[in-house]
Point group: C2
Chain length 426, copies 2
């Protein structure tokens, strides 16, 4: 009988080489975020199901792995399924962060710089490169209302990407307040804005014809409004940095001064940053971001090697208030850890020494010999000799050993076996 | 309306100081295990519910968080609860490891040295210091049938504990084969052995009177057998190292030679190890270990600061076979990560610099100043001046800042504000 030992559908096992690359990427990113003062926190994988279904998660709320209450009777007689469930696995790190902040704010610094690296779970239809358990890597700055937060998050995250060798990136920047003002300016009622954003968000996938079809034909928005929005947006694509703020103010006269000033500040700071290292960015009037909770500037980072963005975030000044009872300004940036790992060349850098011992060499001797090498800090494995020596040596090399010591007999004259290199000719 | 923002019952939020200590402990342990050639792997948090309930988990199988199938109808009409569930959260790292090995063995080295650090979930009754989500830290050596594995696991784990400053430990060693031979020797039928082990396992909690009551009165074992077992066990407590093997062979004549030789080898290797650094150990004939799957030597590490053991493990030569279809020798050691963290003094070593800027200083200037400090590798936070300066400085110090730069105005004459120390007098 053949037993199926694969992990549950849509999940995967991570083998040593793959984990080594991931740990390397995480260490580099952590170093950078640490230098910016972000401190790692951790929340449980499970959250109250009502919190997860509270409306902040958008489409993700349909993908929750739901957990059965403990101590139920064996037979679920005629009950509502929802009554059997009290917990769920988190689908992102923002919902838990907001709960964490509301629960612990008295013990946290203000402003609070949070760093999270943790798995999330979504019961999506499994497909290539998409998993039901995957890691997110978020930084959030809670308690600063100014674009200091936005700029710092962008600076830290582009620096983190640089640190793992992902340099060919572009930061795309917009502002939800601009999109709202635009929607109002072209005559859309406030109740139509959410639909307008959802349609516009699909622009890079379906083009203007598709967006117009969705907005006018499907959602019933006025054709004239959509026409005007398209025209304004197209006029704002590819603006030079020093013209962004002014051109936006011209294009949407109802735009609040604050929005214009904020954009000018962010753009100015990014220009400053660009003097210390190359940072490519653009104002992208078509950028929407999926979640409903954004209230200010929004941003994504794209890379030519990844069809979707490698990072995304924005300001969400009214989300913490829904848990805490009073609004606290907040801004976050989430790195798509799995996408980043996919962009990194998978070159595990193991360089272990194998202490290879023949059957008649006592275990104690082999262990002592390994201890000596290890004391110098070298990764050392103790391995029994078996099969043909060249075959075993090839195998050891393939497993990341760069050298070996071959113990044939106990040397009692004070000499030690010398290390020999594996694959040094390559 | 007051919103309850606490994490789900029995779980907890980990704040920055606490995470910093945990990360420090993990880094030290990982370094040691890495030097011994253990490679980190990762499995999904969820496993097939039938696998989790397969009988390897003992009491833990009653504590599984069960996950509802996706796409069920809203009403669970009269069905069995079990039919609604297909996944569960893992309750340990051994069941997933065995599946992992069976699934990926063709791509893994032999022997395979696995390191795991990951959360597990158990729906235990919440109590002080016990959580429903907690971390385990396991090393396993799969594919070596000799006590090389046992000795290496003990060496690596005591070294890992040393590395985090936990030195006052004692390794307790026994062998399931000895316990089985003893049970047979005193006349217990093989069907009675499991009950005998379970009763004996409680000795340190309920004493011999309690164990006798459980074995004779409750389980109906022959009083004469229990008497004789007690007498043999008591005669084997506190044996000098060089007498363990011989005295065991004398006490239980039916003990296989192999068991005696293995014990002599382990004991000899531990004595060797003791010459390079202090390792306290003892043969403990009362040691049982909870799980049913052990087949050879078993071991625990105790520490005076912890009422339960800080690490435990043993050989399980027939567990991999149940998934793989053929037996592979294996041995593992699991560190109680949470207990270890509880034994470590909680002294976060943050030493950040605060760039403190007055409201009229432009954000760009503050960010640029922070960039300069950060370029030297220092953790640097940018913080807005607010309230009374001494109060804010005290707060910064409490948050782990050791110095600050106070930006009052933009210095255009080429000078920079100098760093001032926080709390340097303490």
């Amino acid at each position: 009988m053949k037993i199926d030992n694969s992990p549950p559908r849509g999940t995967r096992d991570l083998l040593p080489d793959s984990v080594a690359v991931r740990d390397h990427v995480l260490a580099r990113i952590s170093e950078v975020y640490h230098r910016f003062g972000y401190q790692r926190i951790e929340t449980p994988a499970v959250e109250d199901i009502r919190r997860l279904q509270g409306g902040e998660g958008g489409e993700n709320e349909k993908l929750i792995f739901q957990i059965l209450k403990r101590g139920l009777d064996d037979v679920a007689a005629g009950g509502k399924l929802g009554d059997l469930v009290d917990l769920g696995l988190r689908f992102d790190l923002t919902v838990p962060l907001v709960r964490f902040y509301a629960n612990n704010h008295a013990a946290l610094p203000s402003p609070f710089r949070a760093f999270q690296f943790a798995p999330v779970w979504r019961a999506e239809r499994p497909q290539k490169g998409r998993y039901r358990q995957f890691y997110q890597c978020d930084i959030d700055l809670i308690g600063d209302a100014s674009v200091l937060a936005e700029v710092e998050l962008i600076e830290a995250t582009t620096e983190a990407l640089d640190a793992v060798g992902i340099t060919d990136t572009t930061v795309r920047l917009s502002d939800r307040r601009f999109l709202s003002a635009l929607a109002g300016h072209v005559g859309l009622a406030e109740s139509e804005w959410a639909g307008f954003f959802i349609g516009l968000d699909k622009l890079d996938k379906i083009g203007w014809a598709g967006v117009r079809a969705e907005l006018v034909d499907k959602r019933g928005l006025a054709e004239k409004s959509v026409d005007e929005a398209q025209s304004i947006i197209e006029g704002l694509v590819g603006l030079p940095a020093d013209q962004v703020a002014d051109r936006l103010a011209d294009a949407v006269p109802t735009l609040a001064d604050e929005v214009v000033t904020d954009l000018a500040t962010t753009v100015g700071c990014l220009a400053d940053l660009g003097r210390s290292r190359p940072v490519r960015w653009e104002f992208d009037p078509t950028l929407v971001r999926g979640m409903g909770y954004y209230t200010g500037q929004i941003f994504e980072i794209s890379h030519p090697g990844s069809s979707s963005s490698v990072a995304g975030g924005g300001r969400y000044d009214r989300l913490v208030g829904r848990s805490l009872g009073k609004d606290i300004p907040a801004c976050g940036f989430s790195l798509g850890f799995e996408r980043i790992v996919d962009l990194i060349p998978q070159t595990p850098a193991r360089s272990a020494l194998a202490v290879l011992f023949e059957p008649d060499v006592p275990i104690a001797y082999a262990l002592e010999r390994a201890r000596q090498v290890r004391a110098q800090g070298r990764e050392t494995t103790v391995i029994r000799r078996s099969g043909k020596l060249p075959t075993q040596l090839n195998r050891l090399e393939a497993q990341g050993h760069s050298g070996f010591v071959h113990l044939r007999e106990v040397l009692t004259d004070g000499t030690v076996e010398t290390e020999r290199a594996l694959g040094s000719a390559k």
